[in-house]
Amino acid sequence: MKKLSNIIVLSLTSITLALAGGTTKLRVGGSTTVLPIAQLAAEEFMNANPNVTLSVQGGGSGVGIASLIDGTSDIADASRAMKDDEIKTAVAKGINPVAHVVAMDGIAVILHSTNKIDNLTIDQIRKIYTGKISNWKEVGGEDRKIVVLSRDSASGTFEAFASLALNGEKVRKDALMNASNKAIATTVGNTPAAIGYVGLGYLSSKIKAVTVENITCTKKNILTKTYPLSRPLFMYTNGKPKGELKNFIDFILSKEGQELVETAGYVGLK
């Protein structure tokens, strides 16, 4: 509902501003992972600068980058770095993509609080999620079938987890696909044999976050990228941003903007 009301506010504001005239229009599109950050930031930015209209869309990192290359958007949100061939296409079209890291994203791997396992390697996590390991005793736990929980394959968190931990392999078919981080945290809290993954903001005393490759999932380790399941979130612009575009990027990177990043459930850079 929050999202919806944001969208309504955004569109109402843009309509009013378009009627008023004399405004700068900026188009932001791309990764659904970055979308909440972009939406919150756009809303606040437009409140402070009524002469700027920001239209924010999702669609996925690839879509966002493609529209930056086509010149149909001003900012491409991406939850991954641009690929080499994307950069080549951009350069061929006279677009000079500049990356701005706006936030860090970290994914905690969680177990039931009674599970004795404290550490998993990336390899073990991948084998559990792809179906090669199905019993806790294979990773040093008790003899119990593993209940695997995952986010729905359309979600940004899944996309991040798949690229950081699964190497593009498919999640086992009998994994319980959940619609929200909250559902995963609740079910893992109730299920002794469960493994799941959630954003950093969803950790609680009922569940236990394991260390991955012996590194704890903390803000500090995510910011320094020592925690393996962490990644930067980008906004790409064409060339060094100027004018209102620069103001918007600067706003996101400001203290206030980074607080919005934390509100959206990600790790702020400061």
């Binding site: 879509v63 394959s153 078919k173 009998d174 319980l176 696909m177 619609a179 609740t186 079910t187 469960a194």
Partner: protein, 295 residues
């Protein structure tokens, strides 16, 4: 003159209002086909219906909805196993045994059950029933077809009970009197006269209960587990069609194959419930003719 034109006006107003639902239905069907059919450019219909892998965002994507169809069917069968005895049983109790006062208390209570929002049922199932069944049956995870069936069964009880009780009330008193006059006792009258005479209504009640179960979304999204795997027992997590649409529609890019595949699932669901409704209609017609009931 004034009166006639006014009458005509009111008539046509109500005509428009009545055809409103028809227009909505046609619109929905049209959109379902328009948005659902494009997926068959990417997979053929047999791969779609019979495919065993649902990986809509993998590369290459796989759109096999057999596990989803089976998930829906298992939950529906399970829910009906629970709901038919309880629903029909309570209808018979209300109609035959309960006195006027007891009925006037019980019936509203059963109907309140229908008014509880499905998300409340889902939350109740997720937080209370699932952990309870998990401990009781010593299963790895409580979010499974059994839990979903149980809760959907409870949710469908008011529909089935209420409609079945109405059907029992519609049986003409003369049937019962004739049966008693021939020397039949109360049990014989109930099983050989009243229930067969109300058969069409009772079948309709069951089938409408099934439609409710098949279409229920929020509850199954929360308690069925969500694993797109072909279920082998009631203790396996399942992913029904409705839950798939609800979980993935928000994230699927508009116009992508995934988006069209979700509409195609909606189309399959629509065909399911349409078959149920047609069967319900056919049954009630057949019984009506057989018994010569005028309603």
């Amino acid at each position: 003159m004034m009166k006639v034109s006014r009458e005509k006006m009111i008539q046509s107003l109500f005509g428009v209002l009545a055809s409103g639902s028809l227009i909505f239905l046609l619109g929905i069907i049209l959109i379902l086909f328009q948005q659902g059919l494009p997926v068959f450019r990417i997979v053929n219909i047999f791969q779609f219906i019979g495919g065993q892998s649902w990986y809509p965002t993998a590369d290459p994507a796989e759109f096999g909805i057999l596990p989803l169809i089976l998930g829906t069917l298992w939950i529906t069968v399970g829910a009906m196993l629970f709901c038919i005895p309880v629903g029909i049983g309570s209808a018979l109790f209300l109609h035959e045994i309960a006195g006027f006062r007891l009925r006037s208390i019980l019936k509203p209570i059963i109907e309140i059950l229908a008014g509880i929002p499905s998300i409340v049922y889902g939350f109740f199932g997720m937080v209370i029933i699932a952990p309870f069944l998990q401990n009781l049956l010593d299963i790895p995870v409580g979010l499974c077809a059994l839990t979903a069936s149980l809760i959907l069964g409870i949710m469908a009880v008011p529909t089935v009970c209420s409609l079945a009780e109405d059907a029992l009330n519609y049986v003409p008193k003369s049937f019962r009197e004739a049966s008693y006059a021939l020397g039949a006792n109360r049990w014989q009258t109930l099983t050989r006269v009243v229930i067969p005479a109300a058969g069409s209504g009772i079948s309709t009640a069951i089938i409408l209960g099934m439609s409710r179960v098949v279409g229920e979304t929020m509850t199954v999204l929360m308690v069925a587990g969500g694993a797109a795997v072909i279920p082998k027992s009631f203790l396996n997590p399942v992913r029904p069609m409705t839950a798939t649409i609800a979980a993935e529609m928000g994230e699927a890019a508009v116009g992508s194959p995934h988006y069209h595949a979700l509409f195609a699932i909606g189309l399959v669901l629509f065909l399911f419930t349409m078959v149920f409704n047609v069967v319900a209609e056919l049954i009630s017609r057949k019984y009506r003719l057989k018994l010569g009931l005028g309603r």
